[in-house]
Symmetry: C2
């Protein structure tokens, strides 16, 4: 996946130095404010803060700051503003677009130590937390109140809520709970000049002026540092079931989705799909996995459907599976209700990304398109690359999977680990801008849930108009006039 680093250079992202570099005197200031232990400067320790989750992007920040309180964030930001030091806010550093690591030698502001669950209100079903609380930590704090976080991600043990909100993280539960724009009720944000913007009233309904907090949800740390947040926490389902289905075709996937919506409605909590190539790669590369279906072992498509509710409902899921089989859409199915079995089935879907990494190098695209056209993109991509192969291009395996309930397709291109950069460039040229143009024509999104970061800057204009980008940049300028927050990324010109 080093491809992306090479893209960066090739695409001509500015490598001109921006802002000042932190000096010894800055480090001494930070040590006075935060305590020496909370200012990281050792090259060994710095490495993980400078390197993104996928190892695609490596920055060279000389200093990582670990404040404990909002007041400390304010002092840090004031100093950086005066000294014109660019700052990268960083949560669990689990983003997939390189948004949370420095591009040059920006100061890294890690929220990790701001890890207090501030309050849980079981009447309102609202939790208020510092930004560095991990998804798992909050979920465990909510469990005794029979509440849950309306968000689930594979990296829940390390990703932090501030980062989740900054990324507008999607994941598996959007089909049930919607996006964070609906779930996040309040934010506390520190602006580039150290001003605290208190947008954290924790109420479910509040129509007093513009809803400014929404700007920071998905702003990828470019407008301010989220230091605390309130989030609606729905009742924790007492009953969960998972069905794994072998499906006849992608059309049958859509028919099954429609049936699931109609028969399962409010108890649906995930509707995922993967194609047969994904399944083959998972079974081949992930230890301990096995095909879960007894009869139909080579289906064109597979689906995972999860239901969750406050009362038992297994018979409803069974009835849905029976009806889907009777309609001819589903070729074979298995339903799990105990935790181990559910995990086993989920791993066949969760594991796709990991299996791809084990199998070779990957071009990853994370897009939103109308459901009807989702798999056409995978098929067309296969044709384009087959045509290129016929003319001497390298071999590829194209796979499609994703959150079909949300129209969110992950289409990945697997290729040989030993490919040359010329081969990679040729493949990329076969796919871009063709893919982005397709998505623009469908009024889709070139980044459904991963965001822009360093990775998708060149594609942003395919999903947003010049006028919209102009307004975004004006708002950026309004809130961060010196451009110190997370430079060279989302809205960089």
């Amino acid at each position: 996946m080093q491809c992306s680093v090479r893209h960066l250079a090739r695409r001509g992202v500015s490598t001109l130095k921006f802002g000042n570099s932190a000096q010894e005197s800055d480090v001494r200031f930070f040590q006075r404010v935060l305590g020496a232990a909370n200012v990281i400067t050792s090259p060994q320790e710095l490495k993980r803060y400078n390197t993104d989750w996928l190892g695609q992007y490596v920055g060279r920040s000389p200093v990582v700051l670990c404040p404990r309180t909002t007041a400390e964030v304010v002092e840090v930001m004031r100093h950086c503003n005066l000294r014109h030091l660019p700052v990268v806010p960083q949560g669990g550093n689990t983003g997939l677009a390189g948004g949370s690591v420095p591009v040059q030698d920006e100061v890294v502001l890690s929220l990790t130590r701001m890890s207090d669950v501030l309050s849980i209100d079981p009447d309102a079903c609202v939790a208020t937390v510092q930004a560095g609380v991990t998804l798992q930590q909050l979920d465990e704090a909510l469990a005794p109140h029979a509440l849950c976080v309306p968000l689930d991600l594979g990296v829940k043990a390390t990703c932090q809520l501030g980062g989740n909100v900054s990324t507008n993280a999607g994941g598996l539960r959007v089909v049930r709970y919607g996006s964070l724009h609906g779930s996040v009720l309040g934010l506390e944000v520190v602006l580039a000049d150290g001003t605290i913007l208190d947008l954290n009233n924790a109420m479910r309904k509040d129509n007093t002026g513009l809803d400014l907090k929404q700007l920071f949800i998905g702003a990828e740390g470019t407008l301010g540092v989220i230091t605390a947040l309130s989030i609606a926490t729905p009742p924790r389902p007492s009953s969960v079931n998972v069905a794994f289905l072998g499906v006849k075709s992608f059309d049958a996937v859509l028919a099954t989705l429609r049936r699931a919506r109609s028969m399962l409605g409010e108890i649906l909590s995930a509707v995922e799909f993967e194609d047969s190539t994904c399944m083959r790669l998972v079974l081949q590369h992930l230890e301990g996995t096995q095909h879960p279906l007894a009869h139909a072992r080579d289906c064109p498509m597979y689906m995972v459907i999860e239901t969750a509710s406050s009362g038992p409902h297994r018979e409803r899921l069974d009835a849905f599976v029976r009806e889907s089989a009777a309609a001819g859409d589903v070729l074979d199915a298995t339903v799990a209700s105990d935790a181990t079995d559910m995990d086993r089935l989920w791993r066949l879907r969760y594991g796709v990304s990991q299996a791809l990494v084990k199998a070779g190098h990957v071009f990853k695209y994370d897009v939103s398109v109308p459901q009807k056209q989702m798999y056409n993109i995978v098929d067309e991509m296969r044709s384009r690359l087959a045509a290129d192969e016929a003319k001497g291009g390298m071999q590829h395996t194209v796979v499609g999977y994703g959150h079909v309930g949300d129209g969110n397709l992950h289409v990945n291109v697997l290729y040989d680990r030993n490919a040359t950069s010329e081969q990679m460039a040729r493949t990329q040229a076969a796919l871009e801008p063709w893919l982005f143009e397709c998505i623009r024509d469908m009024k889709g999104s070139v980044s459904a849930e991963h965001g822009i970061g360093q990775h998708k800057q060149h594609a942003l204009a395919y999903s947003k108009s010049c006028d919209a980008l102009r307004v975004m940049r004006s708002i950026k300028h309004l809130l961060d006039p010196s451009g110190l927050l997370n430079p060279h990324k989302m809205l960089d010109e």
Copy 2:
């Protein structure tokens, strides 16, 4: 309810003329663009566009424009911008804060003729409509697809989706579907200078840059004119039940809410409460109403709990009612499953507002506070007004009702229709700013769902900090530098 008009004058809202007034030549221009029939200038016809839903606010616009297309809105806005004519966008004109009528002689831009349902995608469960489509019209268009609008309001036959989004309308279904910030997927907006901002990709997931559309949700027409929108439309429940409960106390209301969340979880679709005074006024003033409970006819509190799902669930609601009675929280209850009975029960809650209007004049407050403290506000308000009465103030009846599931309290003060303006001012002085200070101290909202409009400008600063207001005003200035859109309202200084 004329009190509010008097507030306006008393509070010193500027009556200095702002902008130019439309001239004959402007009217001729509008007639050329829209057709003579779509430019209203007759005083008789103008009246209803100049007067708000509650008859509290009366503007004096000389011209109402009724475009049919976005292109026409663009032409109108360009002209108004060049001519410095202030514009009030208006949907169904059903708002409760005077936001949709002119303050002076602003041009009214009515979206009523922009009433096309543009598309319904049953796979994605998304509808795209012009802004003037009514809530009921969309609901009827969705019914054949077994989908519904994630919003329900008493005025559904006349309120328009563009207006709903501009107001961020709340209502009864927020407890189930969340706010419009989560449900609205895309917007098309025309800015003050006629620029079309196309933020309408209709995808459930889109992380490409700042989510600008969120700014316009709840902006009350001060930032741009919403001309079209896409909204997520959930599966239409096939089974609905309504329980009407007589409840022991407000603490028991909260215990019942917690039990409802835990036992009914995802099938809950409304959790409402009203106190015994509301019930008495409804039975006294609304024809055809009768007490629905056989045994406990004088309960301190009443609740309406609605459940809705994609499968039958009546036994779950019955079990919840039994358990609530066994716990001693619920004194008596009745459950309805047929439409007529459900309407009959709902009217006892829906009808509160209407009953109050029939009973006298009303000060209306629509606030969000932590559930635990909701009814304390009603009690304290009663004490304050009783103390004032003891010192010679006029008589009052204080009632509390609202969307308890969302922490949204409507606390209303009923008083004699013949009260003098001095008496009204005395009452108001007994309540304000005390109430707003209480709400500020609880980090609540001084306007939960009605918005700011002309009615709550003086209270805005109790829920939003100076810094937040400064940022809001800068964004307003960025998008509407001449301040032509809906002046004298939400963000006016």
